[in-house]
Symmetry: C2
């Protein structure tokens, strides 16, 4: 990878060939003014290529003279080989002050399911296994019932005990046995609880032991993700995502539950989500060229609402205080009974929930991330409209849902939007000029701010003194970007002509307040859980992030605003779709299925609104980063350095 | 009850007021000539009432003089008070010879299910129980899931552990809980196997613990019997029988199985039998004024073919050598899934079978009769078209199906018929005149011979020397009733004008041969089972008869022809419909359900045709009573007395 050196900062970074210079600067924590998101229209991101050469970067925004001097637009220049790039400094500052600028962007290390580790720990024991048998044929002297023959020889040849034969299998046994002269493959479903019986759920003529598959599904409120896995080696065969068709009946869980209360509503929503899952199943089968009869198992995880709707359980009291789910544990159910287009012999395992707002998706995340098997005190966070947090380790687990509101998905923010093209996802600010550096998804002119962008933005502004501890803009700064409109103080990220939205794109103090409330709810949730079990935030050893949000958020920035507790970023990992990961693990290994029940029981749920200490913790968290600065030593040091440098 | 003394025999008997004199004579073992079945048309049953008086008995068949002398027709005379009755003797014989006549008629003592005994032995533990709970209502501080609340309080208030809540229950919990302010009744289905979980199969608002019912069904090839039982006190509430609608598709199991092999045949037969069972269920509910929702359990027993057809299991290989059933054990299945008109929460327990021809009906009989709990070496027999026999006690059980053929149901006998009006059911013969005494069901002119009548007839003729050891008529007798027609020797039971059938009603040597083959198959079956386990026929301590046949058969006569081993008739009992009795016991007590599985495993099946000793035993049994007379000491003594008296 080419190395790029930025002057006068003397900061080096590496970037892929073809990467834009402006993004390389951002990754290096080097500020370059930029308002148009990287589209090349504002002409502000002028840099001088002092050594090496870039592709592109020439623009009418640059005069002929500038071009001769080596000026390029950083957002249009693509790396090709090592470079030395100088950022033109417009005021007299020294290099030490330059280094007060943003820390390099840093996202969480991705943590994937480690099949080998599972195998080593003896945790890879598929819930459904196949056994091949060449049975002796019945004679006048030995005319055992077909089912008895099957059970006896599974015992004799494979040491299988405590077997029970399902009725549909009994119905097909006579035919299947005689199809290939009593050479057959039996499909065994293992009991989750020890001491219970192994069920023979299917039989096939001949030897089919080399084909054995399962499906794992995350039933999300918005999207349904499925993964088809091979039960023989544990490998992933195909993945597919599809919108949850229930979206037509309401965007969020509350509106879905309201629809479910209408006559026929519950049945309709159940049919719709099943059809969406069936679409995923069909796609997975087509992609992997696997026949539906080869799927022997399906595991599904979703939040409590999604789970109840999928199982056609009325959700009337789930959405009303005191928020009582019908159940948290669900017995296994036939997939076909739910309407899933799978063979009759397939059981659907549905992940258990802890409470109305800590659902099976979170439990699956806890299972998938392995936090329930670790000694380390771990914080698991799944941040979406609601944030669910789980704290603990192999000995205890405490969990809560935090009413974070939709700020992290762009909701409640004046120009908030989902992480889509045109959303500001990266930001830095020049501490002298207070000019912004704005990069958008897709490098187009900005039209809004996504959740991770908002965090980066507020963190940067706070660290550079543009925003104070209370989340208010510093009124003393000499910049036109900070202004008051209709009684609300705001910072102009991009002026009208630099945007796609035909008006100034701003960040207001109300937006910041909303963000602070959201992050305060989550952080105080963590503090409350910890204090309830007699521990403190500094005891945390590890953070696991789940959900789409976790893959983009800049860890140091999230710590700067006090969303995440300040720990070594190396100790923060991202598990992606934790729900799908957990579902997949349960599809692959029976031990996990057994553990799920125990883990769910172990997860002590706290209703934060009913926990005495929560309100105090919450109020204390309504500052940047927090009233108790001692928990943020690194940030404190940086702020002190900055203050000293600027004085 | 009035006492009737018969002269010159000096025999006394008791009879109900209104009973006919001829039947009283028969019960006393006193022969009176009679050919017309008791209709009063042959005029042969002349008797003299010497003391007391009868109602009726005057007929044009009696001359005025005879009437004056006190002559009456025995078949038309009804007992009313004590009587002394003289039978006119037409030849010179002494009283000792008169006493050579038949032993009094004696049927098996009826053995009913003894609920009190079950309760004393701790065997009355219904598989489904109800528990009433007044639950605390959820609050903001304590908002357990409804299912968790239910499970927790069942544990707290009723000491219930290891509970699992069925999905349909989860679906209705929220509504039912809030219907009567969290006062609810939970319906618990106990596990059959210890250590497994108790399932919560239903919940109802309020206290419904005083209503808890189950249904037991005998799925017979011809008739379906149902009984509705109260699970609270074990009492029988209603009984009802209905033809099995499958009869339209074939009379016997073989023709049913043949139909089942046609396209759609199996499905059709399943629907038809389910509809017949539904008729029984509907009738039971109407009769007992019980709502279908109050039925919490159904247990069904039937032969292997009936069971496979009910469960929609193909029977193709069941009817073909080597006669392999698909299964002998069946997992519990939802009643509604079979099409039974019961609530969704009701499980159907189907009795396990031992082999193709020793089915769940026999296992149920073994359970119902309690033979598996006794120390005594017991013979259980269910005689129909096939005879199934089980020998053993609490330590071991051996069983076999005997191809007895339909002789006991009147099949293969020239004038054989089912036990219906006009069937000869009682018989004796005058050892001097060789004239018969014939009584029919309904006291009408005879039209045929039913199974129990045939046995009585042949036994009597054999004991009186009319038939010899080989089943041949004694050609030396001076009677017109024994004659040869078309090369076959026969005995005329009733001449044309005394019958309903416009021809002579006869018993032929071929009929006798068929009866001997049938009884020989059964007796040799018993001998074979006993010899295979190293025991002998004389070791038998008890006989249990099941099936309609068992209630009518004259025990001493059945021993005389060698159908039953000769034991004290006091030690023979009749359990009636053993299949229904067993089904009922399983419906009432969970312990029996558990025992069923072990008993079925314990029942060693012998395919007689494949058992080396069987053919020898069979050939030895093709005599009256048997080649080995030493096993029939009482009969032997009687025959010797007769021989001495007649010489």
């Amino acid at each position: 990878m080419p190395t790029i050196k930025f002057l006068p900062h003397e900061r080096e970074t590496q970037a892929d060939d073809g990467e834009t210079l402006i993004r390389a600067a951002l990754e290096a924590g080097v500020h370059v003014n930029a308002s148009c998101g990287g589209e090349g229209v504002c002409g502000k991101c002028r840099v001088i290529v002092e050594s090496g050469s870039v592709e592109g970067g020439i623009s009418e925004k640059l005069s002929r003279e500038d071009r001769k001097k080596g000026y390029r637009l950083a957002c249009r220049s693509r790396v090709s080989g090592d470079l030395v790039v100088r950022i033109p400094i417009e005021s007299e500052i020294d290099a030490s002050v330059l280094n007060l600028q943003s820390l390099p962007r840093r996202t969480a290390r991705i943590q994937q399911m480690n099949l080998e580790e599972l195998k080593e720990q003896g945790l890879f024991n598929p819930p459904v296994e196949k056994k091949y048998l060449e049975l002796p044929q019945p004679t006048a002297q030995e005319n055992l019932a077909d089912a008895t023959r099957l059970v006896s020889y599974l015992k004799l040849k494979h040491g299988e005990h405590r077997l029970v034969v399902d009725l549909p299998v009994i119905r097909k046994l006579p035919q299947v046995f005689r199809q290939e002269a009593f050479k057959i493959t039996a499909i065994l479903a293992r009991p989750v609880q020890e001491g219970r019986k192994t069920r023979i759920i299917n039989v096939q003529a001949g030897d089919t032991t080399n084909r054995n598959f399962a499906i794992a599904v995350d039933v999300g409120t918005t999207t349904i993700y499925g993964e088809l896995v091979n039960l023989i080696d544990g490998s992933a065969v195909a993945q597919y995502g599809e919108f949850n068709g229930q979206i037509s009946y309401g965007e969020d869980v509350i509106s879905r539950m309201m629809f479910a209360e209408k006559p026929g509503g519950l049945e309709r929503l159940q049919e719709v989500v099943v059809e969406s899952i069936n679409k995923v199943i069909r796609k997975l089968l087509r992609r992997s060229r696997i026949d539906v009869d080869e799927i022997n198992n399906i595991t599904l995880a979703g939040n409590t609402t999604m789970t109840q709707l999928l199982l056609k359980v009325p959700s009337e009291f789930l959405r009303r205080s005191p928020y009582v789910p019908a159940s948290t544990l669900y017995p296994p159910v036939k997939a076909a009974e739910l309407g899933l287009e799978l063979s009759d012999h397939v059981d659907a395992l549905v992940y258990p929930a802890v409470s109305s707002y800590v659902g099976g998706d979170v439990v699956a995340g806890v299972m998938g991330s392995g936090m329930y098997r670790t000694d380390e005190l771990t914080l698991f966070m799944d941040i979406g409209t609601n944030a669910e947090i789980v704290i603990g380790n192999k000995d205890w687990l405490a969990c809560a849902a935090c009413s974070a509101g939709p700020a992290f998905e762009g909701g409640g923010i004046t120009f908030g939007m989902r992480a889509a093209k045109g959303a500001i996802e990266d930001f830095s600010i020049d501490p002298f000029t207070n000019e912004p550096m704005i990069l958008t998804i897709g490098n187009v002119r900005p039209k809004g701010i996504c959740g991770s962008g908002l965090i980066t933005m507020v963190a940067n502004m706070f660290e550079m003194g543009v925003i104070n501890h209370n989340g208010k803009f510093n009124r003393d700064l000499d910049t036109a970007r900070i202004r008051e409109t209709d009684g609300v103080v705001e910072y102009v990220l991009a002026f009208r002509e630099e945007t796609q939205i035909d008006r100034d794109l701003v960040l207001t103090e109300i937006d910041i307040e909303n963000l602070i409330r959201a992050k305060g709810a989550i952080y105080s949730g963590c503090m409350t859980l910890l204090s309830e079990v007699g521990m403190a935030i500094d005891d945390l050893q590890r953070i696991i992030l789940a959900g789409g949000f976790g893959s983009y958020v800049d860890l140091e920035k999230a710590m700067t605003i006090g969303l995440l507790p300040e720990i070594d970023p190396e100790r923060v990992t991202f598990v992606g779709n934790g729900s799908l990961m957990g579902a997949k693990m349960s599809a692959l290994t029976n031990r996990i299925r057994k553990d799920v029940v125990e883990v769910t029981r172990m997860m002590t749920n706290f209703e934060l609104s009913e926990t005495a200490s929560f309100m105090d913790n919450y109020v204390a968290a309504l500052f940047l980063p927090h009233t108790e600065m001692q928990h943020f030593p690194k940030l404190k040091a940086r702020l002190e350095t900055r203050r000293a440098a600027l004085q």
